[in-house]
Symmetry: C2
Subunit: 288 residues, 2 copies
């Protein structure tokens, strides 16, 4: 049942991405190249599932949900640049700047971020007050006090010995804020109550930390081929991770605690949140 | 009268920029560094003047108007990067990446673009339908089919011999789209009629081309010290410009024609558009 629902969401997302008006021109091609690079589509999936958890129709919020994947993709393109993480590969394919060059990769990222807000303001959604609230929340989550701020802190922290609370602060900005707003987006646009929106926030925040802890664990125990990138690369780069700070067992315990927190947050929901509950379990168990 | 009105707009803009919650943290500092780098503030000025031209209160649309300056500033930071124009100076000061490094400059640009949409979605404006329309228009003007698209075409055209229509297409995207939406933003948010909004569009589009033609002329006849950058740099970079294609006299004629077009577009307005009319004259005459 979980797999079927996941697949249904993924199909909706992929179909929506494919039918956007991409032309053959260079910029469109480079944006699309990175967008269809696969990935787990966790952010739009979270949004669609949250819409269903509050009794809404995921199809009605699809354009807004997909905008989150555009923002995530732009951040990956910029993160991979030589001036940042200098990664030649992303999900087993050449990174955007290795295919299109640095200038075009910077611009493809800029255009994806901008396009996300075009989608969020889609008049066809027909809920201006809620859309405006979402646009503001997404901008805050993706911006200087959220994702970009986390990335700046991450760059500044390179080569330094960070403690657990510093690492958590970086992750909350870098990945947590956008994941949290993804769940909120679904809840808000689908007409959830403020109590439900708060519960979805708490769920997604815990899920985001669990996701990051699992990433750190997989970097140590994972299989390079399944991961699509060399295992152990964080350690080799001297990055402080949950594993380097807490040990493998300590990180596993933290992972369990966050998953438990995510599950508790779902208590106010009925069986509509079954998928979200299983998604937390899926993230705990994932191998890549 | 023109100077006083211009100064009144500039004061509103600078005050608004200064009171935004910039903290001492690196990212905020680098965003602010580029924002207060001066410049003519043409985009927010256009928005404020357009609001007044349709009988509205410019103060009521100030946050939206300033968002345009954030977008313009982000584009300059990214344009100056080594992978793009590789400019060490901007308006006589070190460019962002020369002060904060490339990674932080990329991220400061990203954060400014994102922050612009946060401001556009400001609930205090209290006009969700109009704000949503504006957000969509700004995203389109700043994105793949507007500013970013123009920049990609510009990068792709380097070293090639472009003709006039190709150059005009690049400028319409690179600078024209955002200037046009600046005037529209003021007209829409201040409650202008669709006819007035169309007139403001036509005005701003002609103004934008005039601005670019004047830029090309100043690059040839300008004084490096007044310009804040070396005169003749376009020519040395082998860039096709209005002057290289039309000659100095031909470019001057084109400039006059566009200014005339801008003035004609203002005919439906009464004296509320005096400032916009004088702004066109100012751009024709400017020395930097």
């Amino acid at each position: 049942m979980f797999k079927e629902t996941f697949q249904r969401y993924i199909s909706m997302i992929e179909q929506f991405l494919a039918q956007l008006p991409w032309d053959k021109e260079l910029l469109n091609q480079s944006m699309y190249y990175s967008l269809i690079g696969g990935g787990k589509r966790i952010r739009p999936v979270l949004a669609l599932a949250s819409a269903e958890a509050v009794g809404g129709d995921p199809q009605a919020i699809l354009s807004a949900a997909v905008s989150l994947e555009l923002i995530h993709t732009y951040s990956l393109i910029h993160d991979d640049l030589p001036a940042m993480d200098n990664d030649d590969y992303r999900r087993g394919r050449l990174s955007n700047h290795k295919v299109y060059g640095e200038a075009n990769a910077i611009l493809a990222g800029d255009a994806l971020l901008t396009y996300a807000f075009e989608l969020l303001a889609d008049p066809a959604v027909g809920q201006p007050e809620k859309q405006l609230r979402i646009i503001r929340e997404v901008a805050i989550a993706a911006g200087k006090d959220g994702m970009v701020g986390g990335q700046v802190a991450d760059v500044a922290g390179e080569g330094k010995t960070l403690n657990l609370s510093e690492i958590e602060a970086i992750h909350k900005g870098k990945t947590g804020a956008l994941l949290t707003v993804s769940a909120r987006l679904g809840g808000i646009l689908a007409g959830g109550t403020e109590l439900q929106i708060k519960a979805l926030s708490d769920y997604a925040q815990a899920l985001g930390l669990a996701f990051q802890i699992k990433d750190d664990i997989l970097d140590v125990v994972g299989n390079s081929e399944i991961l699509g990138k060399p295992a152990g690369s964080d350690l080799r780069q001297g990055k402080a991770t949950y594993v380097s700070l807490l040990g493998l067992e300590g990180a596993e315990q933290q992972l369990k605690a966050q998953i438990q927190k995510a599950q508790s947050a779902l208590e106010p929901f009925n069986e509509d949140a079954t998928f979200l509950s299983e998604l937390a379990y899926f993230i705990e168990q994932r191998q890549h």
